[in-house]
């Protein structure tokens, strides 16, 4: 189960994972952490938008949508 370097965008709706590390830099990275994506937090993939991107995630009890570009910055443990 412990795959190396899985990022959030590789997950399918219905899957869950734990945040391992936020990559990227500056404002985007800080924003992701402020929105509650800190180490160890559980994140559920809810569904993709009709055109496939962005994707709706459930984190800390609320719905957060991220584009693939942002989801790629989030390294997770399945």
């Amino acid at each position: 189960m412990n795959e190396e370097n899985v990022t959030l965008d590789q997950l399918n709706p219905g899957q869950s994972a734990q945040v391992k590390k936020i990559h990227g830099q500056g404002a985007v990275r800080r924003r992701l952490m402020e929105m509650g994506l800190t180490r160890g937090v559980q994140i559920d993939v809810v569904k993709a938008s009709p055109l496939g991107d962005p994707v709706d995630y459930l984190v800390r009890g609320y719905h957060l949508s991220l584009r693939k570009a942002e989801a790629q910055l989030i390294e997770v443990i399945i």
């Binding site: 800080r30 924003r31 509650g36 180490r39 009709p50 962005p54 800390r60 719905h63 957060l64 991220l66």
Partner: protein, 752 residues
């Protein structure tokens, strides 16, 4: 001294409902200095104390991420409110408390308002408010249900308590290990610096430096605090060495750890998560297949709402100001012996006509703002962005940009204001820029007249291609900007909350409508008065020797005609280099439908409408008529509202339901034969031949479509985007319009 309290909270937590409930009508809406973000202030009385309540923009955090968050932070840091009332969504406690934790780091007393406790309990969440207060060092925690005004009295009592006895110690996230030690050392160093202590709380500043906060680092660089910045950088390096993690991550982690511990002790979650109504709605609204059709339907409804439903009142305002008031002013001026003077003409044709031009937008904007407020407050706007983002990103835009662009097909003015729903300033400006190319309703009459004159039964092709040209130019502009002005810039990140669906509160919706329309009236009227007065002056001043006197000059001899004539050679390459064409383009800046009016004035003499001379009615009758007209407009509004249903169903192929027509009003058919004949003659002369005349007409229509939207739209852009951006836009649209018109004429010539 009045006590100042700030109201802060995440977006979509019902903050403005609480603000409205606390201050009632005692509020003032303006803008934050130098920003296009709304600033709301209100007053309330608690006991004997008069309290100034400042509503801060919605913010998820106090970092320098968006203008809203910078404003919120600067206000708390520099204005030092007595206390911050933090509105917290009880159904989303953890993320909401992140902002609270940051406010507490600013050593500002906090009152927590647990709003939407009803939503929380629907989800099976149980929150122990008393325990939360105890765990947070006794700071007041008040439970409210924002949309039912429950819990307001306890909130007022809590405000009273905090202002009278500010708490001594505030709970704060504890930073431990290397991070904590470095932070303490940095704070100690800051404490030694009296200049910094006067402006910042040392520990908070230390936190911001370790977080690498751009705004703070820049401010300190400007103040020459190189030593402190170097110390901060060294501390960051040591932290990274010791923990293999950067300070920023550790700070966010530990804040959330602090919050997590708090929440764990006060929140009871249901063993299995409950599927709420909101989740069920979302399953349909953002459905893989239904999501897009539902989105398009919503946009169609908004468009119907702003164009058709607002039309009856628009007509009424137009008739009332440009008919009734215009007539009264004329009669009044005649009564005092000023009839037929230049002053009378300035007042009626210049000022009243100009003000009328502003007021006709009020119904449109009221309906637009109603639609926007409902979309935003209900939570649908975020879904619209979610569904459309992929398409809009292609043009370098955000999912939320779609709505202003759609509204632009109705009218550019509300489209510009609709850009406010976008969080990012770049997105707002770019969307506003492109929205002007969406062919608005006022441009349609021009295409109709020209289409009928030059293409007869095929006029539909001209009209339809104008809409396509507008979209194509917007697309091209979006791409061009993406690869030039914004080259190399990352698109604004898309990290968007999908808030739970909620029923909008009519009072909040009404307030948003009214506040924004008020803002429009104040800002737009200055520009518009100036422009209409100048245009009137140009029409009144003779432009040739011996061509009459001030306010007594034939149209073709006025300064306006002379200037138009001077401009006209510019349009020769596009085939419409006559003074009549240039002149109508100049007046078209007032409002594009005026182009038709000007042309008929020039070519046919008098406007058809003005030719109907009716029996003068008494004052009483006129008032009666105005009131009746208002009632009729109200009924017609209901009619148009009902008509949305058949019109929507008629979108299905092969279905034609009849629409309601309460008064049996038949569409007025304006006889334009004389105007059409004159237009054909004029364009054939300026273009050189009969075949080229039609081509020149197409070029003219392309120019009308693309050049500067009307002055009201320019005034709106100035209000929203500032002078520089507006000037750039005016310049760009003129250039693009000219190039496109010339291209149409010159390239078209090759094929004729």
């Amino acid at each position: 001294m009045t006590v100042m309290i700030a109201l802060a909270g995440n977006p979509n937590v019902g903050k403005s409902t609480i603000f409205n409930a606390l201050t009632g009508s005692r509020q003032h809406v303006g803008n934050w200095p130098g920003k296009t973000v709304e600033k709301k202030e209100g007053r309330l009385r608690v006991g004997d104390e008069e309290i100034l309540l400042v509503d801060l923009p919605g913010a998820y955090s106090l970092t320098a991420y968006s203008i809203e968050e910078i404003i919120t932070r600067d206000f708390i840091v520099h204005e030092r409110p007595t206390a911050v009332v933090a509105v917290v969504d009880a159904s989303n406690l953890e993320r909401n408390l992140y902002l609270v934790a940051q406010v507490l780091e600013l050593e500002t007393p906090v009152i927590i308002v647990l709003n939407m406790t009803d939503v929380a309990s629907n989800r099976g969440l149980k929150i122990d408010a008393a325990q939360l207060s105890r765990r947070m060092g006794g700071i007041p925690v008040v439970e409210t249900v924002g949309n039912r005004s429950l819990g307001l009295e306890p909130l007022k009592q809590a405000i009273k308590q905090v202002t009278e006895n500010p708490p001594l110690a505030l709970p704060q996230a504890q930073y431990d290990g290397v991070l904590g030690a470095e932070m303490a050392a940095l704070a100690a160093q800051i404490t030694q610096n009296p200049v910094l202590v006067a402006h910042y709380q040392p520990r908070w500043l230390a936190t911001k430096l370790l977080e690498n906060d751009e705004a703070i680092v820049e401010a300190l660089e400007a103040q020459g605090e190189t030593e402190l910045l170097a110390a901060a950088a060294a501390a960051q390096a040591r932290i990274e060495d010791a923990t293999e993690d950067d300070a920023e991550t550790l700070i966010a982690d530990q804040r959330y750890t602090f919050i997590g511990d708090l929440v764990a002790s006060v929140l009871e979650r249901p063993s299995t998560s409950i599927l709420t109504t909101s989740d069920k709605i979302d399953e349909i609204v953002t459905h893989r297949i239904w999501g897009l059709p539902i989105f398009l339907l919503m946009m169609w409804l908004v468009f119907q709402f702003t164009s058709n439903v607002s039309a009856p009142f628009l007509d009424w305002v137009d008739g009332f100001v440009n008919g009734t008031i215009y007539g009264w002013a004329g009669a009044l001026l005649t009564a005092v012996g000023l009839g037929d003077t230049w002053f009378a003409a300035l007042l009626t044709d210049g000022i009243i006509a100009g003000v009328g031009g502003v007021l006709v937008f009020v119904p449109v904007l009221l309906f637009l703002y109603m639609a926007l407020a409902v979309l935003e407050d209900s939570g649908y706007m975020a879904r619209a962005a979610f569904v459309m983002d992929r398409v809009m990103r292609w043009m370098g835009l955000h999912g939320k940009s779609f709505l202003p662009l759609i509204v632009g097909f109705g009218c550019t003015v509300p489209a510009v204001y609709a850009t406010r729903t976008l969080e990012n300033e770049k997105d707002r400006k770019l969307t506003g820029f492109l929205a002007t190319f969406m062919s608005c309703g006022a441009r349609l009459p021009v295409y109709v007249v020209f289409g009928a004159a030059f293409f007869g039964t095929a006029s539909g092709n001209l009209i339809f291609s104008m809409y396509l040209v507008g979209i194509a130019v917007a697309l091209a502009t979006g791409f061009a900007l993406k690869y030039t002005v914004y080259k190399g810039q990352q698109p604004a990140p898309f990290v968007m909350e999908l808030p739970p669906y909620r029923l909008p509160r009519p009072l909040d919706v009404w307030r948003q409508m009214w506040e924004r329309v008020q803002g429009f009236l104040i800002k737009a009227s200055t520009v518009i008065l100036a422009v209409s007065t100048v245009l009137w002056l140009m029409m009144a001043v003779p432009g040739r020797a011996n061509a009459g006197s001030f306010n007594d000059v034939a149209a073709e001899d006025s300064l306006f005609a002379v200037l138009s004539g001077a401009v006209s050679p510019i349009f020769q390459p596009a085939g419409f280099g006559s003074w009549e064409a240039s002149g109508s383009l100049i007046t078209g800046f007032m409002a594009k439908e005026v182009i038709v009016g000007t042309m008929s004035q020039i070519f046919v003499g008098e406007e058809v409408a003005a030719a109907e001379v009716t029996e003068p009615a008494s004052f009483g009758e006129q008032v009666g008529e105005a009131v009746l007209g208002f009632g009729e407009a109200a009924v017609l509004t209901v009619q148009e509202l009902l008509n949305i249903a058949p019109r929507t169903i008629n979108l299905l192929p092969g279905v034609t339901l009849p629409t309601f027509n309460f008064f049996g009003i038949e569409e007025e058919v304006v006889d334009n034969t004389r105007l059409e004949a004159a237009l054909i003659g004029s364009f054939e002369r300026s273009a050189g031949s009969a075949a080229l005349g039609a081509l020149a007409a197409v070029a003219f229509n392309v120019f009308v479509l693309l050049y500067v939207p009307c002055m009201v739209a320019v005034a709106a852009m100035r209000q929203e985007f500032g002078n520089r951006w507006t000037l750039a836009q005016v310049g760009y649209t003129l250039a693009v319009a000219w190039i496109a018109a010339v291209l149409v004429f010159q390239v078209g010539k090759l094929f004729i």
